[in-house]
Structure formats: structure tokens, C-alpha cells
């Protein structure tokens, strides 16, 4: 484990995947907070200042794209890595996510183990791993 514990914000309106990801990331040594929609996510980002936001695209109130765009408009949030999760995963959508400033775009279904190791690699020097 690194000397300072990395903070992860999981944003998804599907509790099953949230439960699994929370369990796994905690076991991997991350500090984890949860948000159920885009609006909550933006509040949490202000107060919690996570290192990574793990966020679904399709959500009520504010979509993942909007949250991503809002965050990237703020220079003080530029350090936060954004990983988008999507069930749709069309090429155009992936392209849009990356254009709006996401660091990674991962299509559901995915292996939870691989997701965690991908997040780990985000913090390696020089590393924005491809998915």
C-alpha cells in the first residue's frame, strides 16, 4: 500500500455493481465513497476531493458526460482521474467520453479484477493505460 490512501468515488445508480466495486476497491486498499447520480457526484467531488471518479454514463438527474464536462471546466479539479463505465459502448460514445475529458472508458461487462488493476496503473508514473 502507498503511504497516502488513494480516494475513489463510485458513481452509479445500479446498487449491485456498486456493492461489488466497493468491496473490491476497499480490499485493494482504496478509500471509497459512493454517489447514486450525477448531481450527488458533483457535490461529493467538491467535498471529498477523490483521486479517481469511477462513473457510469447513463444516470438520472445528470449524466456521466455532463459531470465529466463540468469537472473538466474546473482547472482545480484537473488532477482527478475520470473513468467512465458504460453499458452502451458504441464507438461514437467512447469517442465522445474521451473528447469530454475522461481518462478511461470501460464498457460493461468487464472483469472487476482487471478494472482494479487498471485503476492501479493510473497512478503509476506516466501511465494512462489503454483499456
Amino acid at each position: 500500500m502507498s503511504e497516502t490512501t488513494r480516494k475513489v468515488l463510485i458513481v452509479d445508480d445500479e446498487p449491485n455493481i456498486v456493492t461489488a466495486l466497493e468491496f473490491l476497491l476497499k480490499r485493494s486498499g482504496y478509500d471509497v465513497r459512493l454517489a447514486a447520480n450525477g448531481a450527488e457526484a458533483l457535490e461529493q467531488v467538491e467535498t471529498y476531493r477523490p483521486d479517481v471518479v469511477l462513473m457510469d454514463v447513463m444516470m438520472p438527474i445528470k449524466s456521466g458526460f455532463e459531470v465529466c464536462q463540468r469537472m473538466r471546466e474546473r482547472p482545480d479539479l484537473a488532477q482527478i482521474k475520470i473513468v467512465m463505465l458504460s453499458a452502451k459502448g458504441s464507438e461514437a460514445e467512447v469517442s465522445k467520453g474521451l473528447s469530454l475529458g475522461a481518462d478511461l472508458y470501460i464498457t460493461k461487462p468487464f472483469s472487476t479484477q482487471e478494472l482494479v488493476s487498471t485503476i492501479n496503473r493510473l497512478f503509476e508514473p506516466g501511465g494512462t493505460p489503454s483499456q
Binding site: A92, K96, S111
Partner: protein
Amino acid sequence: MRFLRGVWLWVLIACGGVLLVLATGALLLYLATDTERRPILSALASESAPLLSFGTTILLVVAGMAAHWLFRRYPHAARQLAEQSRSVLAAEHGFRVAAADAPELADVASAINQLADAYHRVEQDLDQRSADARARVEEERDRFAALMSELSQGVLVCNADGRILLYNSRAAALLAPFVGSAPRGDYKPLGLGRSVLALLDRNQVAHALDLIQQQLDHVDRPHARFVVSVANGALLRVQVAPFLGAEGLVAGMVFTFDDVSGMVGREAQRLRLLQSLATGTRAPAANLRAAAENLAGYPDMPADQRKQFVEIAVAESRILTDRLNTALREYADALKGSLTLDDMRAVDLLAVVQRRISDVLQLPTSIEEADSELWLRVDSYAIVQAMTFLAARLAGDYPIHGFQLRASSGGGFAEVDLIWTGAIVSSEALSLWEGEPMRIGAEETPLSLRDVLERHGAEAWLQVDKIRQISRFRFLLPRGEAAAALAYKTSTAESRPEFYDFDLFDRIDTAGALAERKLSELSYTIFDTETTGLEPSAGDEIISMGAVRIVNGRLLKQEVFEQLVNPRRSISRESVAVHGIEARQLLNEPPIEQVLPRFHRFCEDTVLVAHNAAFDMRFLELKEAAADVHFGQPVLDTLLLSAVVHPSLDNHDLDTIAERVGVRVIGRHTALGDALVTAEVFLRLLPLLAERGIVTLAQALEASRASYLARLQY
């Protein structure tokens, strides 16, 4: 002769008259004299007889000359005037009657000349007007032909008998019997005067016509649609609509064609995706569920059993994930396309958007950058609506003074941007607009921007450069292919295609009675062969066939038959010297058994024409059995017809006749080149035959036969 007969009659009558007057005078003098004095009178008469005879002769001569003079001056001059007047009617402009001597007739002559002047003025005026009208019609035809050839849809028009009157180059490309040089399936040539039923599935067309017939009375625009596969393997969507003639009867049909092969392919792909998802995921889902339910239902199961089920669940969920990903990757294209999407150039789309935004919003709009090689696959109407709607919404709520448009390729997609400077728009506003029905002025569609994007498998978002104050609304649209839309362009020849012939409207199909039909009305296939040598019966073979058609007196240079043939034997050196084709060049060409049936179709319902036809026909006849075809139609020979027209000349080889009748010879000694020269020669021979009273096929065949016998005797 006529003058002499006329003048003698007049002289005789005058002299007779003079004699009658003198005789009557003498008789009256004699009767008026007393009886006793009559002897004195007689004596006086006989005494002065020489004087009396002389006087009478003088009188007779004077009367005769007067009669001659009068005849020349009046009746003869009148007759000449009549003849000259007739010549004025018949002759070219400028001929006028000569002035007569008699003043009365001179008046008539000048009146006739005045009439003639007026008549010729009217005639010239009429000529001018009809020339103008002809030029206008010609111009309209040209314009029409150009328009037809530019259409992206295939169009074909036929008369009520199904004979083709018109087709455009797109139709020719779509209905081409094969793609490239390799024939596929049944060979069905497209051509003016041919039957449309030979090109399309007869049953489908008949069904469409039935449907139209039923709609005729009560439907405003009767039409029928069907999808049909054609000889080249393409799938066409066909729309048929009738057009009515003068008496409200169906005069013909207009067929329009769209190639839907690709679209149908995408539909099929979608179906396969669904099937693949259904069958591929069912088993792992069942296994996963069984394992999970066992784990949940029996918490007290032994540890090794438990481990086994967990492993099953992990393995099956992996399989499920993999299958899903594979299926979605393989059929990614199927999720993009839709039946209404067309390939178009991005530049063209932007030009329409530019005009639309400028017109509707009265805001200056420019195209900042557009890659001319970038093609989109879009419902252009929907995209133009979407971009105009966005521009209207932006300009309505924010102070925006103009837009720029841009299109470039971004990986597998096309990036199309609507750009403006100044006003910063919130992304909330945009996500609101995305869901609204698009309204532009009074125009409203139930579709929202989101609907349009979904139909295209596209995405759109706002990008803001706050420092430079530049915002762009980016559309990520699917890219199209240039090939599909361009393929038919290349087949358009530089010259205006001779793809229409409206005179065929009036043609009555009387194929049975060819012999009595006029040569000028018949359809011909003019063909030529190149061979391995000159002796068909000694095993020489055809190595190349070329043919062209004449329909309604017009040489159709666009509808040709040209095929090399593998002779499966060597070619004599003399023959190679003539045509320059070596046997090894023909190894990959089809054998004559495959080529002949296609040629048979090409020349169906036409009279065959060749130069020295007996030679070519002998080659064909020897292969009829092997190819299972029979050439039963009449055959004309330009060599014999030339001999009919110029019986006193000896040389009738193709080059000589061509020169004689004024045909420029180009591309000789290829089968198609020779066929073309023969065809032009044949067309020039037709009027020369007509001068000799040879106008029907039967007459031409009979004259050829006689000329052949005559040549044999020499």
C-alpha cells in the same frame, strides 16, 4: 410540236374565214345583179381573174400572218405562263415567270410573280419557325438526357408492350448483366427496344402491373414496389408507376431502381446479431444461474462442493462476457446503419446547412474547413434539420452573430462542427434542447435531436474554448463510402448517351411478319468474329466476337457485345498477323459454348448483319449444337448488298465499301471495331437500296440472293 399544231389551226381558221367572206360577197353580188346583166358580170370576173386571185392570195397571207401573230401573243403566251407558274411552285426560291409581250398578260405575269414572292416569304418563315422548334426540342432533349444521366436513381421507361424506350446510365449500371468481365448467372442484356421482362423477374413485374391496374380507377398516383435480384447479383428496390396516353389508357411504365444490396445486408447482419446473442448467451446464463442458485440455496454445502460451484460461476460469467463482447464487436456495423441512410459528401451536406441557416436565421454562415474526400452515411434531411434547429435555438437565446461550419475525419467517424464565437452556452441548456421536438419557424418534426443522433448511431456534444471564446457543437457522424455512389459515374461515357428513343412508342411488335416489314423499321444486330484461321470445317475456332445493334435506324454505340473466347487450340500465324491476338492471351476467357448463348440473347428478335456473313454464320452454325442455341433469324450480308447497289463494281471488301459510302474507318480488325464499321456501312446502304426500290426485308433478301448468283457466274 404543240406550238405548230396550235398555230396551223389558227392560220387555217383565219384563211377559211377570209375565203368564206369573199365567197359570200361574190354570191351576194351575183344574186343582186339582174338576170340579163349576169353574163356581163361573168365576163368581167373571168377577165379580171388573175387580179382577183392575186388579191385573194394577198388577203390570205395577211390573215395567216395575223393569226400567227395573235396566237403567239395570247394563247401560246398564256400556256407558257401556266407552265412557268407551276415551275415557280416546284422550283427552288428565286425562279420567276418571264414577262409576256401582250400588256394584259404582262399584268397577269407580274401578279403571279407577286404571289410567288409572298408564297416564298411564307415558306421561308415556316422553315425558320420549324427549324427553331426543332432546335428547341433538340435542346430540351439534351437537357433531359443530361438530367437523366445525373440522377442517382436508375430510371427506365417502357411502352405498354414492355419495350424499353429510355434508360439512364445509373439504370444501365444497376442492370448490367455482370460486374467487370465475369458473367454471373443468366445473361440478360439491357437495350432500347428490348423487353423489360427479360431484365426483371417476369412474375414480380406482372404482379406489380396487376396492382397498378387495380389502383388505376381510384388511386391518385398508382404505383407498385418490389425488391428483386438481378443478373449481376445486386438486390434492387423497384418502383413502378404508369403514365397515361391520350385516351386515358396506360401508354407505358416508369421504373425507378435503388440498389439496396448493402442495406439488406445490414438488416441481415442485425438479424444475425440477435440470433447470435440469443443462442450464444443462453447456455452460459443457464449455467451461471444454476451455480448461483445452488450456492444461495445450500449455505451448508461442503467446502469443496462450494468451491466447485464458485469456480463454475466465475468461468461461466467469463464465457457470457466474452460471447457478448464478440457478438457486439462482429456486428458493430449492423448497429449503425439504417434503411434511410445515404452516402453523401460532407462538403455537400455543409453547403445545404449553410444555405439553410443563412435563409432561416438571416445570419452569416461560412464553411471554415471541409475535407472534399470525406463521405458521410446520413439521413441528410434529418441532419440538416438538426443542425439548423440547434443554430436557431442558439441564436434565439444567445447573442450570436454568425456561424462557421467544419467537417473533418476523426478516426472511424466524421466530425461535423457548428461553431460560433462569443456567447458561452451552458451544457444544461443543450441537454434540454436535445430532447425537444425540433421546430424551425413554422416547420416542426416530432423527432428530437436525440432521436436523430440515435438513428445514426451518432453522438454530439459541446466543446468550449473559454480563452478564445470559441464554442463548437460537434456531431460525430458515421462515415460513408465514396465507392457506392461513384461507381456508376465512371460508366458514363464522355459523349451524350443514346439511351432513349421515343419513336419506339409507336412501334407495333410484329416479329412474326419480319419479311414484309420495312428495312428502316427493323432492329439489327451487326456482328463480326475473329478466328484462329479461315477454315471452320477444318477445326478453326472463334477467338473473339463483337456486335452492336441498330434500332429504328439508329446505331446504338452504347449497347455493345464484346467478348474474347478461349479457342482451346493454337492460332495460325496469318490470323495473328490480322488481329494480333495470341492464344496465351485467351487462356482465362470463357469457351464458345458459354459465349454463344449470351450472344444469342443479345441478338434475340433482330436481323443479323455481317460483312461476308456466310463466313461468320458457318462458324456459328458449327457451334450451335454444343452451345444448345439456334440462330434462326434472317441474315443480311453487307458484301452482297453492296453488290446490289453497285453491280458494275468488282471490289466489295469492307474497307473499299466504307470509303465508297463515306464511312470513316477506325478500329478495324477487332471484332467490335469491324462490327461498328459494318453497321455504319449498312446504314449508308439502306437509302441506296431504297433508290432501287428495295425497301422490305424480303426484297433485300431476294436481291442479295440474285446478286450472289450473279457473282457466282462471274
